[in-house]
């Protein structure tokens, strides 16, 4: 590479000022145009600052601790405790309710499974209501982790089903099929997540770290069961309706802009209780238990009933089963 000094100097003349050596960054010629440019740049910057000023809501709503919080799996027990305390304080401040955030671990050796008796389900929707209350869902919409499809008898094709039925149940020519997270053995949502904000726990429950999720909604596109929801707006829940028994990976009030999903009520089921939707079901259609326990009711159903899973051809291997009597 050769350098022609004469060329270089000619360029310096273009860029140089008339008064002695200056910092290279400052040697623009002073002229009316430069002054106008500076004024334009200042105006532009001011306009930009004004335009993005609503962003100041981020530091108002997101504390430094929250911003810097590490992934759930990288937190020590001590750090987790501090995170839970911070979240409890935030919930108190925002929702006016004292809550306890726990983090029960999976029970060693247990793998949870759920089965629904479609001969019994009559589409009354009590499960959805229970889910809404148990899991601190936004009250502005009737949100829950469960969708109940009203299906036309004679077809298992969901195209002939609807979730928006609004009449007395059960209808004579219909049957009812609740769909929630199938807690797949091979979950497409976990594969999709770019930041490992969602994963499968040892007891088969697929959970979300609501404080790590970036809200890209790729998992929502990936899920074949429409089991994932996005918090489009901050959840609004009256203080007296907030369920104070909360789990970090389950029913604590989710931050806006993050994904959520059914977690088999792990804050209950890992402590020996049943999922809220099961307790609420008046028909006895729902059955929950340990797939690893040969004597469990759910294993009896799997062995003695004609059982199927949804969209088996996709290879997702659900731990959620359907059967008819």
């Amino acid at each position: 590479m050769t350098v022609d000094n004469a060329d270089d100097s000619s360029r310096d003349e273009r860029a140089g000022t008339s008064s002695g050596p200056t910092l290279p960054i400052l040697n623009q010629p002073s002229s009316r145009r430069t002054a106008l440019k500076a004024a334009g740049a200042a105006l532009g910057l001011a306009a930009f600052g004004k335009a993005v000023s609503p962003l100041w809501s981020i530091p108002e709503n997101v504390s430094v601790d929250e911003f810097l919080q590490q992934h759930y799996k990288e937190l020590t027990d001590d750090e987790k405790r501090r995170v839970f305390e911070r979240l409890e304080a935030e919930t108190q401040r925002q929702y006016g309710k004292d809550v306890t955030i726990s983090d029960p671990p999976p029970i060693p050796g247990v793998r949870f499974g759920y089965a629904i008796n479609l001969s019994k389900c009559n589409g009354n929707g009590a499960c959805m209501e229970a889910c809404n209350q148990e899991n601190n869902h936004h009250r502005g919409v009737d949100q829950s982790y469960i969708r109940v499809l009203e299906m036309t008898k004679g077809s298992m094709d969901m195209e002939h089903g609807t979730t928006s039925y609004d009449h007395s149940v059960p209808q004579e020519d219909k049957f009812y099929m609740p769909v929630q997270c199938q807690q797949c053995e091979n979950p497409p949502c976990v594969t999709a997540c770019p930041v490992e904000a969602t994963w499968r726990e040892d007891d088969g429950i697929v959970v979300v770290d609501y404080n790590w999720c970036i809200g890209c909604r790729y998992c929502e596109a990936a899920c074949p069961y429409h089991a994932r929801r996005f918090n489009w707006e901050p959840p609004e829940i009256p203080a007296d309706e907030v369920n104070p028994d909360q789990g970090y990976l389950s029913n604590r009030i989710r931050p806006q802009g993050t994904m959520e999903k059914c977690h088999f009520c792990l804050h209950r089921t890992r402590e020996g209780r049943l999922p809220a939707c099961l307790e609420a079901c008046p028909t006895g259609a729902r059955l929950f238990g340990d797939l690893n326990d040969p004597d469990s009711d759910i294993n009896w159903v799997l062995q003695n009933k004609r059982v199927f899973v949804l969209k088996e051809e996709l290879g997702t291997q659900p731990n959620f089963f359907y059967f008819f009597d």
Binding site: D4, S9, E159, T163, C193, V195, R217, A221, P224, K311
Partner: protein
């Protein structure tokens, strides 16, 4: 500039990169902000639209994604649609690089840097389109390797983040290096950029393939779950990219003294003719399979082309795209398209608009309709989404204008950089 004085400063004459690089940037800033009245009006309008977009996005961050019209049923909308198109635009620039470097097309070599500049602007637009789609942009750092926690190599989105940023860096290096050498009046050293040019060829194909894999890897979305998606993406990118570049060269000819020889545009049009034909053949094949087989695989296509259960939201979009693509292709095949003129311009505009719809609103949205539980919830973008998208385009054009301004300055006679000896000199 007339106001520039002519005093020699020996202290600045040294080729020391540490001193000359900031001067190069400062000079670039100066050049990028010099121009006539038309230039200032253009930049002012783009800045204004960008600011409207930035403001709309800031409101979206403050109030949440509820200000968009996306729902749990249609959870990706205009942003991701636009993202897909912009990735294609970025990849399409490679259709100048291949003739220039693989086939040693001398004339193409002179203008190939325009394709690389378009790629930079398009990648920035793609990245911005993803950022504005995030529900929690404050957690963006979770996506950064080593600092965050990336799900690599399993998640296709992680791959996409990596390849898009890689492509941006490669093209920034190539364009930046060539401009800097021009600024110094030095001959660019092929060792410092030609390997990156060849890397960029493979990389360009990878960015659009990975972007297609984002969608076609999802078993739960039958409309996307087709092996034809990546080849279709590439074929349509090799139409929209070259068509966009032809328009850019035309505008450069009208606004600056930077006149490209007629050869490159003709080569690009030959490429478009082939790529668009392949694209339409693949599209026809896809449509045949969807409609002849029917069933669940055809439900989205049914909704897209003819409406379904009383919902017709995308029907006007897709038929507009179909008409634009067919008419645009027919125009490209007219002999007049090889000459400068309105036929060529119209063909480029029609195909760009047609492909923008076809792989944006016509591909992303119907993937969600009907939903995985066969519910039909329609989607049309909200005002905020339109503003943000317009802002992203305006910012992309702003960036492209600045890059092209610098390119036009150093690559035309206006710039007295001394004897230029590079193989890509054009002199």
């Amino acid at each position: 500039m007339p106001s520039m004085t002519a005093q020699k400063q020996t202290s600045l004459a040294s080729p020391d990169a540490i001193r000359s690089y900031p001067r190069f940037l400062w000079w670039g800033l100066g050049e990028a902000t010099n121009g006539g009245l038309g230039f200032y009006v253009w930049m002012f309008v783009l800045t204004a639209i960008s600011l409207v977009g930035a403001n709309a996005w800031a409101h979206q961050v403050a109030e949440g994604m509820i200000v968009t019209n996306m729902t749990d049923h249609v959870s990706w909308g205009l942003y991701i649609a636009n993202f897909t198109f912009c990735v294609g635009l970025a990849a399409g620039g490679v259709m100048m690089v291949i003739p220039a470097y693989l086939y040693d097309d001398e004339e193409m070599h002179k203008v190939v840097i325009i394709g690389e500049a378009v790629a930079i602007a398009a990648i920035v637009m793609s990245t911005l389109s993803v950022v504005v789609d995030l529900g929690r942009p404050d957690r963006f750092w979770h996506l950064i390797p080593l600092i965050g926690r990336v799900n690599w190599p399993v998640s296709m989105l992680t791959w996409d983040v990596i390849v898009l940023n890689g492509y941006l860096l490669i093209n920034l290096h190539i364009v930046g290096y060539l401009l800097y050498m021009r600024y110094l009046g030095r001959k660019p050293n092929p060792k410092w950029y030609v390997p990156f040019v060849f890397l960029s060829i493979i990389w360009a194909i990878s960015i659009h393939t990975v972007t297609a894999f984002l969608y076609c890897g999802l078993g739960g979305r039958p409309f996307w779950n087709t092996a034809l998606l990546a080849p279709r993406f590439l074929a349509s990118a090799f139409v929209s990219g070259p068509a966009f570049i032809i328009l850019v060269m035309r505008i450069l000819r009208l606004t600056t003294g930077y006149a490209a020889p007629p050869g490159p545009a003709r080569t690009l049009i030959q490429i478009i003719r082939v790529a668009m034909t392949i694209n339409l053949v693949m599209l026809a094949s896809e449509i045949f399979t969807l409609f002849y087989t029917g069933g669940a695989h055809g439900a989205s296509a049914q909704y897209l082309y003819f409406g379904s259960h009383g919902h017709y939201g995308l029907v006007p979009w897709i038929w507009t795209a179909t008409a634009f693509n067919l008419v645009g292709t027919a125009l490209f095949f007219m002999p007049a398209a090889l000459e400068r003129g309105s036929i060529r311009i119209a063909a480029c505009l029609l195909c760009i608009a047609g492909i923008w719809i076809e792989k944006g609103m016509g591909l992303i949205i119907p993937g969600f309709i009907p939903s995985t539980l066969h519910e039909i919830v329609e989607y049309s973008p909200s005002l905020v989404e339109w503003k943000v998208t317009a802002g992203i385009w305006a910012f992309g054009f702003l960036l492209l204008t600045v890059l092209l301004k610098l390119i036009a300055t150093v690559f035309t006679g206006d710039y007295e950089a001394g004897p230029i000896r590079g193989p890509s000199s054009g002199q």
